[in-house]
Each structure stands twice: as C-alpha cells, then as structure tokens.
C-alpha cells in the first residue's frame, strides 16, 4: 500500500540531559499504516511527540510532500494536517464530546461584534463526523468523563477526522482498551487507511500489526534498527530487533547507524 513519500524526517536528535532519547534518526513515511515497535524507553513516544509538535528536537529537518516544514508547536502540526492521539487520552474530562473535538479550534459567531461560541454548529458538525465514521456515542453533549476508554479514544479520533488530517499519529491508542473496543478502533483505523491517510501507530501488539500494517519500524535505544514490510519478516525477527539480539540494521531504503 506504500505509494510514495508523504512525510520524511532527517537526522533527528533529541536528548534529555544525558539521555539520548532519539539518536540521529532518518525515516520516510508513505500512505498506509506504519507500525512503530520497540521496548519501553526506546524513544517511540519522544518520536511521536516531535512529529506532533509537542516536543522540539535538538536537530533535524522535516519534509511533507517534499516541502521543508517546521513543526514548532501542536498548532503548527495540525495546520499541516498532522493530528495526534495520545497514550494518556488527553481529553478535558468535564467538557462534553464536541467541546473536546473543537478544543483550541472552537467555532464562534459574532453577536454585537463579539465572538461567542457557536455551540449548535459545533454540536452538529461533531455529530455528523461521528455518524460518518460510525462511532457510537450516545450524545455529543455527554461529558467525556462519562465515556468508556474506547469512546474517549473515538472522540480523539473523530477530532482528527473532522479536521481532515492527512497524517495521523497514534501512540499506543488501544493500550487502555478492552479487546472488543480495540477491534472496533482498529476497524476505524483501517477505513482511514483505505481512504489514503498516512497513519503512524506506536503499539506493542506485534501479531496485530503483522496483519494491519504495511510497514514496520523497529526502534531500540533511540535509533531505528529495522524497517520492513510484515510480509518480509516474522514476529520472532521483530522481537530480536527489539531486544537487540540482531546487531545488523535491516532497512530496504535507508541506511541507519546500527544499534550499540
């Protein structure tokens, strides 16, 4: 399903004090689902936060459809069509569904020249998006804290869909979900992939990614140690790259610095 380059990052490095969370990473993403797999502390979340503008790297360049871009903040990232779902489901619990979907991008209407929230319009658009992706949430007026983990994740997903993201960043999106919710969530993701979106998903579920992903990127200790198609590899091989028992670098296109 890979059809050319959508998003490319070159020589990205990020250190926290003495810790090299990301060590000179270069990688290209195309359309379809790319799975990022790696042990805890491998730098996966740091990588995703840099893509989403939450974390600023020490070095690195980015290209979107071949054009250099600067992801300096989450707002900047979203303007470029890069939307994120976070590991910790960062929603405002006491706000309702549509208020969360539009958080930071509220629609306003002018009354005597002053900008007031256009609640009805936001509720209607949110409702339409939820219908469109067939996500079942009782009411867009429900406070998010009354939703289950899966519904909450669906709200975050609906936000990305409504704002027409072309690149979707998912950091362990199903970590807090039960098996049934995980299945439904993955089905929505696959629909988005079919629509031609670029989805980058951090996950620990290797068997699932063998089925869903068109590409697997394995990270270890702040570097990319392998990039491959699930067709060309096995779960055992991925595991071996994760824990570092393979010392070579497996990469069809790029040549990275090897593991330690």
């Amino acid at each position: 399903m890979d059809s050319g380059e959508v998003f490319r990052m070159e020589s990205v490095t990020k250190s926290y004090g003495g810790i090299r969370a990301l060590d000179n990473i270069s990688v290209t993403f195309g359309e379809g689902l790319t799975a990022i797999i790696g042990d805890n502390g491998a730098g996966k979340s740091t990588f995703m936060k840099i893509l989403s503008g939450v974390t600023i790297p020490d070095h690195g360049t980015f290209l979107l459809h071949g054009h250099p871009i600067h992801i300096t903040s989450p707002v900047e990232a979203r303007k470029l069509g890069i939307e994120s779902l976070y590991q910790d489901l960062a929603l405002a619990d006491t706000l309702n569904v549509y208020a969360n979907m539009f958080l930071g991008r509220e629609l306003v209407k002018r009354i005597v020249g002053l900008p007031f929230l256009d609640e009805r319009h936001m509720a209607q658009l949110a409702s339409e998006t939820l219908d469109q992706v067939r996500i079942n949430i009782p009411s867009v007026h429900t406070m998010v804290r009354n939703l289950s983990g899966g519904q909450r994740q669906a709200v975050a997903l609906a936000r990305a869909i409504h704002f027409k993201a072309s690149v979707l960043l998912l950091d362990e999106p199903t970590a807090a979900l039960g098996p049934k919710e995980t299945d439904s969530f993955n089905r929505i993701i696959m629909n988005l992939v079919d629509e031609g979106k670029t989805v980058i998903m951090v996950t620990h579920n290797i068997p699932q990614m063998m089925e869903m992903a068109s590409r697997v990127v394995v990270m270890r200790a702040g570097t990319i140690v392998a990039e491959m198609s699930p067709k060309d590899t096995t779960q055992e091989e991925i595991m071996a790259f994760m824990v570092g028992s393979y010392k070579t670098v497996k990469s069809p296109q790029n040549f990275q610095k090897g593991g330690d």
């Binding site: 903040s73 707002v75 960062a90 619990d93 509720a123 079942n136 007026h141 439904s184």
Partner: protein
C-alpha cells in the same frame, strides 16, 4: 463501546444527540435554587417581615461585595487554582483609589474624581491580579502559596500607603453612588453587570471554555495549542479586577477606605462558589451557581438576625453547608467512577 453501528441503527434515535437541556449543571443549579427558595420560605414563615422589599434589598446589597469576589474566585477555582489574595486586593484597590480621591477632592460634587477613583480601583485590582497570574504561570508555582504571599503583600501595601488608618474625605457623588440608586441601588447595578460579564465570559467564550479545560486537563489545553501562560495571567487578572470593583464599591458604600476591609470576605467568597457547585479539583462550576450560593449565605445571615438568633450561627450554617456540598460532590464523583469502571469492564 466504540461499536460500528449496524446499518439500520434504530438503537440510536437521531435526535438523541440533541436533548433540550444540554448544560450538565442544570439539575445541580435547580437543586441549590430549591435550597435557596426553601430557606426564604422558612424564614418568611418564622419572621413575616423577612419577605419585605426593604429586607430583600438589604440582603442583595450585603451580598454584592462578597459576590463580586466570588465571581473571580469561581473562575480561578474552575481552572484548578485558588486565589487567597482577593480579600486583601479589595482593601488595596479601595485604599489606592481612596487615597487618590481624598487627595484630589476639594469642593463640589466631584463626579469626575469619583469616576477617576473607579478607574484607579479597577486598574489596581487588574494589575495586582495580573501580577499573581504572571508569577503563577511563568514561575509555575502553586497558586495557593503565591496568593497566600500576595495576600500579605497587598494588605501590607494598603497599610503602608494609609499609615494603617482608614481614609475618608471623599466627594459626595461617591456616597450617592454607594448608597443611592436608580430603581435599584447602584451597588446592585454594578454587581448585575459584573455577574453578566463573568457569566458570559465563562459560559459563552473561548476564554471561558479554556478555564474549564485547564481545570480538567492541563495537558489537553496545552496540546490544543492554547497559550496557557497568557490565559492564566488574564484569569488571575480578572479575579483581581472583580476585587478592584468590590474595593471601590466598598469604599463608596461604607464611606471609608480601610486597610483591613474585605478580610472577612475571602472565606465566604470561596464558600459561595463551593455551595454553588464549583469543585475544588477544578473543571466544574458556573457563575449562576455561585450567585445562588452567595444568596443562600446572605439569606442565612439576614434570616438569623431577623429571627433573633446570634449571627455567629450563620458562620456555623455556612460551614456546615460547605462541608455538605463537598461531601455530595465526592459521593457523585465516586459513583461516577464506579459506573464508568463497570461499563469499561463490560
């Protein structure tokens, strides 16, 4: 669950998403309004004079000053913070504007000077609040500690510029503003305007939405791209602004500016917000709830006086109500967590 809906999803009527009352606070606000009504009914049965126009008006006037403080405090508490300095801010703003007015006033009605005094009080409150906000947002310090500090600082400065003495010698127009009226006492017109301003700001604007969101999840707001430093700075600025207005009106109403004015108001302002449904963990509350909470406190105070009970009973009653309100909130929170947990496991 995130379920794919069946193609003909009768389970979910389309209009289910557009119920008529959307505010999550509607039932809570109706409940405390009920408590207010019950209290008024009880007091007017025990003391028939209670319901008179004069009595009601004096209840409203005695509510006005601490309600103004409670408006700003409500916003701050919903954002997950607290402002302990608003009582001293009332004193400081009243004092700064009082000293200026008494310095420049010589003869005549002094309308210009009274208006200037209002501007100075508002500016003092706003600047003091912004100072709170800048320190809290930029140094990322706990608002409880910062405003505990500025509580002392503001009162100290108020004492300094007045040598610890009350100030008077104000223009007569200030007194008419503090005690006269136009249909209603001027004090109430100012308070109504402030209630509308803070109420609309909180419920109908982006700024207000970010107050709730910040109280619920700082991360969500940061990731939504909101400039949280600027937001926090203005938020505490607005709490100061309300205190500035209260300081000016206090000076006008009591015809004196005292460095210790308003010191008793901080706790009842917080109590009004809490009784009105604002929760101290942040993310929840309304201005309307706070208005009702403040009225409940005033009705208790005036009611006890009319009934002939010692007024300290009002303190006891307010204290009990605060604890009951916090307790109810906690019960609701626990049952909600249990309900979500049950659904999650299904």
């Amino acid at each position: 669950m995130v379920e794919m809906k069946e193609s003909n999803s009768e389970r979910q009527p389309k209009n289910g998403r557009f119920a008529s009352i959307h505010s999550p606070y509607a039932t809570a606000n109706i409940r405390i309004l009920g408590i207010l009504v019950i209290l008024v009914v009880i007091f007017s049965i025990i003391a028939p004079g209670f319901i008179s126009f004069i009595s009601l008006q004096s209840i409203l006037v005695s509510t006005a000053l601490f309600l103004l403080l409670a408006l700003g405090e409500t916003l701050v508490i919903i954002s997950g913070g607290i402002d302990l300095s608003i009582g001293s801010m009332l004193a400081l703003s009243g004092m700064v504007s009082g000293v200026m007015m008494s310095h420049y006033y010589h003869t005549g009605s002094g309308v210009g000077i009274a208006v200037l005094g209002l501007g100075i009080a508002l500016a003092t409150g706003l600047l003091g609040g912004i100072l709170n906000g800048i320190v809290i947002a930029n140094l990322r310090l706990n608002p409880l500690i910062v405003t505990l500090g500025t509580m002392g600082i503001f009162e100290g400065v108020a004492e300094l510029i007045s040598n610890g003495l009350p100030v008077s010698n104000f223009p007569p127009s200030l007194f008419s503003l503090g005690n006269g009226g136009f249909g209603l006492p001027w004090l109430l017109w100012f308070t109504i305007a402030a209630v509308l301003f803070y109420g609309l700001l909180l419920a109908k604007t982006r700024f207000g939405r970010y107050i709730y969101a910040y109280g619920a999840s700082k991360d969500a707001v940061v990731r939504a791209g909101v400039n949280t430093k600027r937001h926090t700075t203005w938020l505490y600025g607005l709490a100061g602004l309300a205190a500035g207005l209260a300081g000016y009106l206090s000076t006008a109403h009591f015809e004196t500016a005292s460095p210790v004015a308003g010191s008793q108001y901080l706790l009842i302002a917080v109590a009004a917000a809490v009784i009105g449904g604002t929760t101290l963990q942040g993310g929840e509350g309304t201005i309307w709830g706070t208005v009702i909470g403040a009225l409940i406190i005033s009705v208790l105070e005036n009611g006890f006086v009319i009934v002939g009970m010692a007024s300290f009973w009002q303190l006891v009653a307010v204290g009990v109500m605060v604890i009951v309100a916090v307790y109810f909130n906690e019960i609701q929170r626990r049952s909600r967590l249990a309900a979500v947990g049950r659904r999650q496991r299904q």
